[in-house]
């Protein structure tokens, strides 16, 4: 690692001020992606600003059909919560137990790894990303591989999830990293159906519109028989684009069956 200092302010305003003053400063959440990145010298921040001492960013609350999860809430706590069972199951399947004790939902969404699970959960539930400046609909938030709508000194403070009537997340694990080779989150609320896919597309997490239309007409696995998404899929040593496109169909049908 290159050399840097770590600051851990206890006020969110101080974090934002530090980021505005120093554009090479980087926010440290749980560090489960950032620390390995720093070890490989893929980043050289001037300083890390830790969110660990800002208590109001932690915790889960439910009110009026909306579950609000603080950005610094670790995966293990979301897994144990159960207010939205599909989301808790998703959180309980991220990485391994040690990663789930450190990694945070805000960190995952800010990083927007194309194979991460949480982006599928946020998009698949139509969540709202709450930041220090505004509220961003998940549909407007994800902008491609590791790209989001977040501006320079903007920090996620919470994520608001509307409680669905039914939802499920099914992923095909990449067994070494336990990231999703392909993961599909399906939810239904009234007549509104959402299908969000992670791990598959060259453009990052996406909503599979054709599948949503088919499921809106008939919410059953058979409605997706033979369907695969269009668009450029990721091809790497773990799977070809054709393989991933096929997996999207399979995972989507399994997710609908699990709803």
């Amino acid at each position: 690692m290159y050399e840097f200092d770590i600051k851990a302010p206890s006020k969110l305003g101080k974090v934002v001020r530090k980021l505005k003053k120093d554009e090479d400063a980087v926010v440290l959440g749980g560090g489960q992606t950032l620390i390995p990145t720093l070890k490989q010298r893929l980043a050289a921040p001037s300083q890390l600003i830790s969110l660990a001492k800002i208590d109001k960013l932690k915790g889960i609350s439910s009110d009026n059909g909306v579950v609000t999860i603080g950005a610094s809430t670790v995966h293990a706590d979301v897994a144990a919560d159960g207010a939205i069972p599909a989301l808790s199951a998703l959180a309980g399947g991220i990485g391994d137990p040690s990663v789930r004790n450190r990694g945070t939902i805000g960190g995952s969404l800010a990083n927007n790894d194309p194979s991460a699970c949480y982006p599928a959960g946020a998009l698949g539930l139509g969540a709202t990303i709450v930041t220090t400046d505004r509220k961003i609909a998940a549909d407007d938030y994800f902008r491609g591989l590791f790209e989001t709508a977040l501006e320079g000194a903007e920090i996620i403070t919470a994520i608001e999830f509307p409680v669905p009537d039914k939802a499920a997340y099914v992923k095909f694990d990449q067994p070494a990293s336990r990231f999703a080779l392909v993961g599909v989150f399906v939810s239904r609320t009234g007549s509104d159906v959402r299908v969000a896919v992670t791990g598959a597309s060259e453009s990052g997490v996406f909503r599979w519109a054709e599948a949503e239309a088919a499921l809106a007409a008939n919410f059953a696995p058979e409605a997706l028989e033979g369907m695969t998404p269009s668009g450029d899929m990721i091809g790497d040593i773990h799977g070809s684009p054709e393989y991933r496109a096929h997996l999207v169909g399979v995972m989507a049908r399994r997710a609908v069956a699990a709803c």
């Binding site: 690692m1 290159y2 050399e3 840097f4 200092d5 770590i6 851990a8 440290l28 560090g31 489960q32 620390i35 390995p36 720093l38 070890k39 300083q47 890390l48 830790s50 660990a52 293990a76 990485g95 391994d96 137990p97 040690s98 990663v99 004790n101 450190r102 070494a176 990293s177 336990r178």
Partner: protein, 161 residues
């Protein structure tokens, strides 16, 4: 360098650390607690697993300064007060739960975290819980057996097929 203080295995400790110092480096180099092993240093193998405020974490994937004020337990804290092996350690010895032994500190700490929350885990639960702990001798069957035995369960049927 900043002074970092924490409680390790019940003892208050304090030592200077750089911002980039990992908790694993702090434990091994500043405190000379070399039972915590650094295997991959990428956060994948779990040999460096310790408990921070009762939760298992990979000490190579956390900065020392982040553990300031925390309660840490390492494998050195797993033996009984008189120095004899703790229940989990004894079970690893009895059931040949280690071959080269490099992953063992992490396996023991992972096992302790599991049994604290789930005193009688099923074989499947043990295997799922170990998803972040790699044994490059591939001695998993006996590791699972050791953890099941440490929980007081019959292990005759574990990995029998």
């Amino acid at each position: 360098m900043t002074q970092v203080s924490m409680t390790v295995n019940g003892k208050a400790v304090s030592a200077p650390a750089e911002g980039r110092s990992l908790l694993s480096t702090y434990l091994r180099e500043a405190l000379q607690l070399t039972g915590t092993h650094v295997g991959c240093d990428t956060g994948q193998c779990g040999a460096c697993t310790v408990h921070v405020n009762g939760k298992m974490v990979k000490s190579c994937n956390m900065f020392a300064t982040e553990a300031d004020g925390a309660e840490i337990t390492t494998v050195e804290g797993m033996a009984n007060g008189d120095g004899s092996l703790g229940v989990i350690q004894q079970a690893f010895q009895d059931h040949h739960g280690l071959q080269c032994g490099f992953c063992t500190p992490g396996m023991v700490m992972a096992a302790a975290a599991l049994l604290k929350d789930n005193p009688k885990p099923s074989e499947a639960e043990v295997r799922a819980h170990l998803s972040g702990n790699l044994c490059r001798c591939t001695g998993y069957h006996n590791i699972v057996k050791s953890i099941m035995a440490a929980s007081g369960q019959d292990v005759a049927a574990v990995a029998a097929e």
